[in-house]
């Protein structure tokens, strides 16, 4: 399966809607419908937690509207939005880590037996928790890179911009993240496909 492709800013409706909202036009509902799923998905990935991602995403949406004047329209909106989500999630992650116990974060026995295919997991209603646990195995920086590049389709240089790190750091973090996931997932994957 190919790496997901990031949306082209020239044709991305989110860009146009954000500009209109910034000008004060009455496009909130439409903007929300386009922006919210992306914010929620990213928050859920960065936090490795489906529960709670909704609340964080709602906070982020409010923050985005309030601080839209701080976005420089000379630059792409999507990257700015990702940065806002990232910062909010880092704050949330720090707070959540204080709440979690060591056993919960260790993720030693994250799964028993054979891992179901994503379709099977979705049918059983397990998909969300499996994704959470798998992403939870990654340290924060690796998780952020993995979500941005492998799951959301950002280019490594875009991810480097969002994370404010060198592209070589993104590459290194991505390699580590893949290796960590391989060690955790591969022993539980049935031979053959993933779906």
């Amino acid at each position: 399966m190919d790496r997901p492709q990031a949306t082209d800013p020239r044709t991305d409706p989110l860009e146009a809607l954000s500009r209109a909202l910034r000008r004060g036009e009455d496009v909130l509902g439409e903007w929300y419908r386009v922006a919210f799923p992306r914010v929620r998905r990213l928050a859920r990935g960065f936090l490795a937690a489906r529960d709670g991602a909704d609340d964080v995403a709602q906070d982020v949406m409010l923050h985005l509207v309030d601080s839209l004047d701080r976005w420089d329209p000379e630059h792409g909106y999507a990257a700015w939005q990702r940065r806002v989500v990232l910062n909010r999630c880092r704050n949330e992650d720090r707070a959540a880590r204080r709440r979690r116990t060591h056993e919960e974060t260790a993720g030693a026995a994250w799964h028993e037996g054979t891992l179901p295919t994503p379709d099977e997991a979705a049918e059983r209603g397990e998909l969300g928790s499996l994704i959470d646990r798998a992403l939870g195995l990654l340290p924060r920086r690796e998780r952020e890179v993995f979500v941005l590049v492998e799951l959301e389709g950002a280019s490594p240089s875009d991810a480097a911009d969002v994370l404010e790190v060198a592209p070589s750091t993104v590459r290194a973090a991505l390699t580590l993240a893949r290796r960590r996931l391989r060690d955790a997932l591969a022993p539980h994957l049935a031979e053959g496909g993933t779906a």
């Binding site: 790496r3 004060g24 909130l28 295919t117 391989r182 997932l185």
Partner: protein
């Protein structure tokens, strides 16, 4: 090669640095180049992520009220203020026109006929009432703090409402 080995070393380091930098700008190693276990693990995550995204994207909650309020705060208030001011001005103009009705104004003194001789002066028809004066653009004057309406000897000043911002 130069005589100074330090120069050679510096050049070699610069070349190595440039090579490293250009490598860094390349996309990460393609997943296809990874070993089979890594590839299958990452693909499992991608498929799972996409499936869940499809479910989640289909269920976007309604726009929360605080967000609607925040967006309303963003909208410029100038057009609304101008519209309300125009409405008030129109109402004031109607009131003013009613208060200062043209029929109640004293008629302008008619010109006295010039007596030229023995002929009896012709009767001068009674002056017709002046046509009702209409408000023109000259009746309105924009001020920094509002608008001023002038009609005859009556002057009405409408001040801008205080800004909510």
């Amino acid at each position: 090669m130069t005589d100074d080995p330090l120069d050679d070393l510096t050049r070699a380091l610069r070349e190595e640095w440039a090579r490293e930098e250009s490598d860094a700008s390349l996309p990460p190693d393609a997943l296809e180049e990874c070993d089979d276990a890594t590839r299958r693990s990452v693909e499992w995550m991608r498929v799972a992520w996409r499936l869940e995204a499809l479910e989640d994207d289909a269920a976007v909650p309604p726009t929360p009220i605080p967000l609607v309020r925040a967006a309303a705060r963003r909208r410029p208030s100038a057009p609304r203020r101008a519209a309300s001011l125009a409405l008030v001005a129109a109402i004031a103009a109607v009131i003013l026109a009613w208060v200062v009705r043209p029929g109640e104004r004293a008629p302008e003194p008619a010109e006295q006929p010039v007596i030229t001789g023995a002929r009896e002066p012709e009767p001068v028809p009674a002056p017709e009432p002046a046509p009702p004066r209409e408000f023109t653009s000259e009746s309105f004057q924009s001020r920094d703090d509002g608008v001023e309406l002038v009609h005859g000897s009556v002057r009405l000043v409408l001040l801008h409402p205080p800004s909510a911002e």
